[in-house]
């Protein structure tokens, strides 16, 4: 299975702090994606990093990928209360991305 597994399962921080979430996967991938989910509803695509990339930025998001360790991290800088959500990684190696159980992030105002 290429399933992504996020770590930690839950993260609680104060507004303004940085939040780091990690993802591990098992087999070779073409890309890895991060999604956000609010209130158990639809997921929103945040960022995709390809297997030949090591780092990617989008606004306050920074994603790194280490294919030798089969791991990725998502950093949210200067967090806001509105960042409170669950974050999922999805390992893409076939046409069906496989998702982990997510990291639940709570940002306290």
């Amino acid at each position: 299975s290429q399933q992504g597994e996020e770590d930690p399962q839950a993260l609680s921080i104060q507004e303004g702090e940085n939040a780091t979430m990690n993802c591990s996967y098992k087999t070779s991938i073409n890309n890895l994606q991060w999604y956000r989910q609010n209130s158990g509803r639809g997921l929103v695509h945040l960022i995709l990093i390809r297997s030949n990339e090591r780092e990617k930025h989008s606004g306050r998001l920074r994603v790194t990928l280490d294919t030798s360790k089969k791991s990725s991290s998502l950093l949210i800088t200067a967090s806001r209360a509105a960042d409170t959500a669950s974050y999922f990684c999805a390992a893409g190696g076939s046409y069906i991305p496989t998702f982990g159980r997510g990291t639940s992030l709570i940002v306290h105002p």
Binding site: G40, G42, V44, H45, L48, F88, G100, R101, G102
Partner: protein, 114 residues
């Protein structure tokens, strides 16, 4: 429409009844996926449609689950003889052929089986 839509947003049914869940993907998207998410869990893949190809049904948990996609657009997920363990949020996603790995999700249907 601008995004993926799903209906109904909530469905409460009695054990043993059949239910139909609908997904309208983004216009022009050739790929359509159904996932199931139980409380506090990750997404469980159910079925994948790509254009006119035969669907990948490898994630369907039992023969009570079926899905079809008419005209390469709208999809219906049918659950027959619902059980309490079918209670979950059912999510639909679509993607384009050019960017198949970037999925756009609908808001989901929350199914509760009493």
């Amino acid at each position: 429409g601008a995004g993926v839509s799903q209906s109904p947003s909530n469905k409460v049914t009695e054990k043993g009844k059949d239910v139909e869940l609908r997904c309208d993907p983004i216009s022009g998207h050739t790929a359509l996926y159904w996932y199931r998410q139980s409380l506090g869990q990750g997404l469980e893949f159910l079925i994948y449609f790509q254009g006119n190809s035969a669907p990948d049904k490898s994630g369907l948990p039992s023969d009570r689950f079926s899905a079809e996609r008419t005209g390469g657009s709208v999809s219906t997920l049918t659950i027959q003889r619902t059980q309490q363990e079918d209670s979950a949020v059912y999510l639909c996603a679509s993607s384009s052929r050019a960017r198949v790995d970037e999925q756009f999700f609908g808001p989901g249907t929350r199914l509760t089986v009493l």
